[in-house]
Amino acid sequence: MKMLRFAALGVAATLALTACSSSDTPSDDATTAGGEKTAEAAEITLWLAGGDTNDELRQYLKDTFAAENPGSTLTIEEVAWPDLVTKLTTALPDEANTPDVVEIGNTQSPTFTTVGAFRDLTPIYDELGGDKLLQSFVDVGSVDGKNYALPYYFGSRYMFYRKDIWTAAGLEVPKTLSEFSESVAKLKTDTQSGFAMGGQDWRNGISWVFANGGELATVDGTTWTSTLSDPKTIEGLTQWQEVYRTASNLPSTERDVAYWDFLNDGTDGSAPAAATIMAPGWARWSIGDITTNDAGDEVRDGMADDTTFDIFALPGVDGGIAPVFAGGSNIAVSAKSQHPELAENLLRIIFSEEYQTKLGGAGLGPGNSDFVSSLGDDKFATTMIETAAASKLTPAAPGWAAIEGAFVYEELFQKIADGGDVAALATEYDAKLTPMLNGGAAG
């Protein structure tokens, strides 16, 4: 009996605990301002995605905002990219907890603009740059001719390679895509990838689709159709499968890989794990020899030794430059913001010449095309501008964020990487993706 009572108590207590944890609502520790309606003095919140906006830029925003809006303060909170859509879904509809200004991935914008989550910025569109703003990003942020999300920065990706290894193997910078495939296949050994690429990494992989003139999806009016079975898309996917299988040692399940680690020498000066990688421009600062910065921390020297490390743009099928995935993000004001005037003031700072120039200085492509020259004119800047000009966005379909959230393309690319039949997989995933693209819940 005694033991039974002990047990019964245990059940009661643990079930209560179970109940508490399962009814746990997402707790956003957002620290938004209190109830004051006065536009003069308030605290507004800016959500930035990931760490691309560096500390110096953040401090500039805070200081400038405080100086231009006496009594008001700007709080900047960083949200990790994989959590962004989830956090926005729960925070934006809640006027007590919504961030006032948010950064959002360019292709994630339509998911929120189409449901009215953002404030109409059309009245200040011209003041913030108007036609000078990157139009492909403006388009994904507009609905029915109204602007809800504007370009914050753009990026692109290109190839980083070990010049010493390529030269030792007698290889030159490739002129065409097939030349690239052949070269990296030659560089593969048991311990070194000729070209390090994870099997689920479709954001790099779709470059092969774009290079062959293929598309992931097309739109007719407002109806999206997945076009993986298009012969050009299949050709691109098949070429990518070939490159992965002949040049990469990475598991087919790898996706967000810190490829830059593969290019550096291993511990105790051992050989690097890869001869070539594909990454966004800022990866440069994680590559190179170890040196000590002003603060005394050990950092990479940003590829200072150009006989060892170098870059090139992924070549196209017939030469030139292959279109790559256009990275970047938009910025928008929450429709439920309690301080829209202050939020718009923050946008004025972000789209000012000074801040746009600072973005360029930090290696991020500024949203206003007038200030692209601030990126500089070294090989990193010119390659970035070249590849960005040739880059392409993923489909701006309403269901895009849901597709990313369900890892559908990750799975497709993994199955291709594992040696699956490309044409059959393309048909299978077209059927799965078309309803999802159009926002149909659970296809």
Partner: protein, 333 residues
């Protein structure tokens, strides 16, 4: 509400359980020192003492569960989250979910995973409890401290360490396997295949749950009277017979309660799987029920469908644990 109730019975508001069972004992106590004033009236104290627990349960559960039931019969997506009125669709969500093969694959996977993990945890826990009974005090204390440390390890930290151990490139496990002669294991990616993925997941979950089971069972074993065992030994019972015919029947209530709790917990497992998936895994082939609901609701913004699956999981949990609850109630009656 709960504040008022707590103030009403300050001393007992926390442990409502023992207080609730207490009056039965005091009521029958023949010589209570303070003379009981009104013996005839049905005692109201037990019910009063139940109030805080009931209020807390209602406050914590009634709204979310109620909202869940309502949402499961509505078309509730991102538009509704941003203020559009939800549309009543009857059982559409359930029909849509139940006719999807993906759900049944997840259900089968989850039930198998849950049963394997719960049984494995209880078997390993029981073995450790018997070991603690057999060894000398210093050894037992060392063992208990180790178990407590594993139990106290924050889950995210624990999973991260396991992720590092099984990393295909830099993990200790692959390195060790190569050192002892399994050359094929160099660069083996444990998380890429569903089978090895769940092998790693099982190791993590069993490692984290065993301490609770082992310590609970050990507590149960210590209360088995030594005379009974001594009598058995005099009658010539072997160690195995003592275990099967004396120890296990006597700790059966504890054993069944920890098994029940493990089943409930292992059916709800979410974070460990999610964290492992982040390290690269075929996501749709490794989803368990919790991850499936999260993906449906939070990633695909199909809140109505996610609510429908959640209600199904609630029913499934009740179904799986019902035999244990019923046998417990029978024994108590």
């Amino acid at each position: 509400m709960s504040h008022d109730a707590a103030l009403g019975v300050p001393a007992h508001s926390g442990p409502a359980g023992p207080a609730a069972t207490g009056p039965a004992a005091t009521g029958t106590a023949p010589t209570g020192e303070p003379p009981a004033p009104r013996r005839r009236r049905p005692p109201s104290a037990p019910y009063l003492l139940l109030v805080p627990a009931v209020v807390a349960l209602l406050a914590g559960l009634a709204y979310p569960v109620g909202k869940q039931v309502v949402m499961s019969v509505q078309k509730y997506g991102l538009e509704q989250q941003f203020g559009q009125p939800p549309e009543f669709v009857g059982l559409d969500n359930f029909v849509r979910i139940f006719t999807d093969d993906a759900l049944w694959a997840v259900v089968a996977r989850s039930v198998v995973f849950c049963m394997v993990n719960a049984l494995l945890t209880v078997v390993v826990g029981l073995a450790l409890a018997l070991l603690m009974r057999a060894v000398t005090t210093p050894v037992r204390l060392t063992l208990q401290v180790c178990l407590l440390l594993a139990w106290a390890m924050p889950m995210v930290a624990g999973v991260t360490v396991f992720k590092w151990l099984f990393d295909y490139r830099t993990g200790v496990v692959n390195w060790l396997l190569v050192k002892v002669g399994f050359d094929g294991m160099a660069g083996y990616s444990w998380l890429s295949q569903p089978m090895t993925f769940f092998f790693v997941a099982t190791m993590i979950i069993v490692w984290m749950s065993v301490p609770f089971v082992a310590l609970s069972l050990y507590a149960g074993l210590t209360s088995v009277p030594e005379e009974v065992l001594e009598a058995a030994r005099i009658d010539g019972a072997s160690g195995r017979q003592q275990l099967w015919h004396i120890l296990l029947p006597m700790v059966r209530p504890v054993l069944s309660i920890v098994l029940l709790l493990q089943i409930i917990w292992d059916l709800r497992v979410f974070a460990q799987i999610r964290l492992l998936q982040d390290a690269g895994a075929p996501v749709s082939e490794t989803n368990l029920l919790g991850n499936f609901i999260y993906e449906l609701g939070m990633s695909r913004q199909d809140f109505g469908g996610a609510a429908a699956v959640s209600i199904f999981v609630l029913a499934l949990t009740v179904l799986l644990s019902w035999p244990y609850v019923r046998s417990l109630m029978k024994e108590d009656a």
